[in-house]
């Protein structure tokens, strides 16, 4: 007596794979031929002919084997893949350019000197970005200590208190994340710099960055706090804890790594912010450790200044600065990802 063997018709067979591979190869060949035979030329023409032919070929294959619906399905599958490719292509190009152009500007003196005795157009072994790195660190640190309490309090209001302002505050936080960075800069200029301090300083820049950072911190923290099981809060209350003790001793520690992720994402959001710094920090060329007095340099400002100087050395400087900035953001992002994989600790 024979039993019916279960089959898995949805898994691609070797024949399917070979057929797909053949279609791919044939499409490349045809599009090469087309680009060579017709007046079309260039990478763009090649790219588009290839994907048009591939879409058609996949569609035709589907049509011949299963009919019209399958043809549409196969063609759409190709188009959707092209969409994903188009999304990733710019980022690949950006990373490749930053690395290939930036590494030339990475010299030992880059990290030990500032630009007080050099101009962007000088040879690359003169001057560095010490002032910019120290300035960016100071700015980020200041905005961190201002925005994290406000951001986390906002998140706590939305998750723990759930008062009658919850809906409007959610809406406002969303709206705040769309505030253009230049508007944040103008606001600090009009509200603090002109009437009170009357001079460029790092603190002004940090204030503007705080405005841009709060929504990121608030929204990420809210998501994290929502993931903390309700049981933990009930357990805290059942043991006689007040709400304050429950939040401070149970909810926040449980959400710790998630909250750190929120801070890191906030820092990544503002580390490369340029426009408000152009208005507020004055962009000094000397290392300045005092954020409350005198212009302060920062990586984005340095990149901007070098890029606008225009000579070959200056542009290389700009790419080197961008490389440092991108590496910084990549490190922050990887750390955040690593931490958020274990969202609830203990």
């Amino acid at each position: 007596m024979s039993t019916v063997q279960p089959t898995r018709p949805w898994v691609a067979t070797t024949a399917d794979r070979v057929r797909d591979g053949l279609i791919f190869v044939v499409s490349i060949a045809i599009s090469y031929g087309l680009v060579a035979a017709t007046p079309l030329k260039g990478k763009l023409a090649y790219f588009f002919t290839f994907f048009a032919i591939l879409t058609l070929a996949n569609g035709l294959n589907g049509f011949l084997r299963y009919g019209f619906a399958a043809a549409k399905d196969a063609a759409i599958k190709t188009l959707v893949g092209v969409g994903a490719l188009l999304t990733v292509m710019p980022i690949a190009s950006i990373l490749a350019t930053v690395i290939s152009k930036g590494y030339k500007g990475i010299k030992p003196n880059l990290f030990t000197q500032d630009m007080s005795l050099a101009t962007p157009t000088d040879p690359l072994n003169n001057g560095g970005i010490l002032h910019a790195i120290s300035g960016t660190l100071i700015l980020v640190f200041l905005s961190l200590i201002m925005s994290v309490p406000l951001g986390i309090l906002t998140a706590l209001y939305l998750t723990e208190i759930k008062g009658r302002f919850s809906k409007p505050i959610k809406f406002l936080v969303q709206a705040m994340s769309g505030v253009p960075s230049i508007v944040a800069g103008l606001f600090i200029l009009s509200a603090v710099l002109y009437p009170i301090t009357k001079g460029y300083s790092g603190f002004m820049g940090a204030l503007a960055l705080t405005i841009l950072m709060i929504p990121t911190v608030a929204r990420t923290s809210e998501e994290v706090l929502n993931l903390i099981p309700q049981d933990l809060r009930e357990a805290g209350t059942a043991l006689g804890g007040t709400q304050w003790r429950t939040v401070a001793m149970i909810v926040l520690p449980a959400a710790r790594s998630g909250l750190i992720t929120a801070m890191i994402l906030g820092v990544a959001r503002i580390a490369g912010e340029t426009a408000p710094l152009l208005l507020l920090t004055g962009g000094g060329d000397k290392v300045n450790g005092n954020p409350f007095h005198d212009p302060i340099g920062s990586l984005p400002y340095y990149i901007w200044k070098s890029f606008n100087a225009g000579s070959e050395e200056a542009i290389t400087r700009a790419w080197a600065g961008l490389l440092v900035l991108v590496v910084l953001i990549l490190i922050l992002f990887t750390t955040a990802r690593f931490l958020s994989t274990r969202k609830v600790s203990r």
Partner: protein, 326 residues
């Protein structure tokens, strides 16, 4: 004899929060209201600083495109005209081009991530796209200027060559450098991650039973997407596009590097003359007199209100997800 110990007085049972809790709730509420405070302060201060210019120019501030200021030797303002029309048209034009380019690509890649991609690739791509959203705008600006612009100009010429009969695609005089089209392409690349992640989120909320019902009725994958996923996620995708539009309107540095600012309303997207409110502020800020700074504050206010409105509409539309569809 055992001395009588007095029993502790029974604790009063009450639903009133303790004092520590009252303080806690007040502090948290105060912190929670910070977004409201900051947003209102922005509006108040920009309006206050820009008031003089707004009153003097009236409606001309958004209908005329002249931007000039003359001062005498003592630095007094003799004559001034501030109009944002060209800048506003340019801002909306660039943002619109960006959304038109970015939307189909984003929806395609969101569909790919949710319904076509293998798990390992999906994880990797989501990480990459999220990271791209955090890249600083100055990076896009410089990359756009030095790497993308030569290609984008070539595309503009091809577009003009084949579709030049469409009015907005005319180029006269023949200048294609630093056109709104180039700025739109750069902005599109910047907002693709935003629209993609909103769409992906919305598509992934599609009820599984509807998806399985479609498959059970014999639908192909595309048939299922067309009948179930797209109608369900439509409002979410539109909201995501609006969010991208708002981001594109407020973008400063990236646009400033690739756009040629001209104080004249220009609807020809391939012509190298455009406008942008945020870039205007950066452009004029350096050598602006105190009076012109006030005009820039007013311009900032207009930009702020514009982006706020777009964002608010986007938010409302995204929230409606799932109410449409079959």
């Amino acid at each position: 004899m055992l001395s009588m110990t007095t029993a502790p007085a029974p604790r009063e049972i009450t639903t009133q929060p303790r004092r520590s809790d009252r303080i806690f709730r007040r502090v948290v509420t105060a912190g929670g209201l910070s977004s409201l405070v900051i947003l209102s302060l922005i509006t108040i201060f920009l309006a206050y600083r820009g008031f003089e210019v707004l009153r003097q120019e009236g409606l001309r501030f958004i209908t005329s495109s002249q931007w000039s200021i003359t001062t005498d030797d003592a630095g007094n303002v003799v004559e001034s005209h501030f109009g944002l029309a060209a800048m506003l048209v340019g801002t909306i034009l660039c943002a619109f081009i960006a959304v038109v380019i970015a939307l189909p690509i984003s929806v395609a890649s969101a569909l790919f991530l949710n319904f076509y991609s293998p798990q390992w690739l999906k994880k990797f791509l989501v990480a990459v796209i999220d990271m791209m959203a955090a890249f600083p705008s100055i990076l896009f600006g410089i990359w756009g200027f030095l790497v993308l612009m030569p290609s984008a100009e070539y595309w503009a010429k091809i577009l003009n060559h084949h579709l030049g009969f469409i009015p907005v695609l005319k180029i006269a005089p023949y200048v294609v450098t630093r056109s709104p089209f180039v700025a739109g392409v750069v902005l599109a690349i910047m907002i693709i991650p935003i629209i993609t992640s909103v769409s992906r989120e919305v598509f992934s909320q599609t009820p599984l039973d509807r998806i399985q019902a479609a498959y059970a009725l014999g639908a192909t994958r595309w048939g299922m997407i067309k009948a179930v996923v797209l109608p369900y996620g439509r409002s979410g995708v539109i909201g995501g596009a609006m969010l991208g539009l708002g981001r594109a309107m407020g973008e400063t540095v990236a646009v400033f590097t690739v756009l040629n600012i001209v104080f004249q309303v220009n609807w020809h997207i391939l012509l190298g003359a455009g406008g942008n409110v945020a870039s205007l502020i950066i452009l004029k800020f350096g050598e602006a007199s105190p009076y012109e700074i006030k005009a820039l504050m007013a311009a900032g206010l207009v930009l702020f209100i514009l982006t706020l409105m777009v964002n608010a509409i986007a938010d409302l539309i995204v929230k409606k997800t799932g109410k449409s569809g079959r």
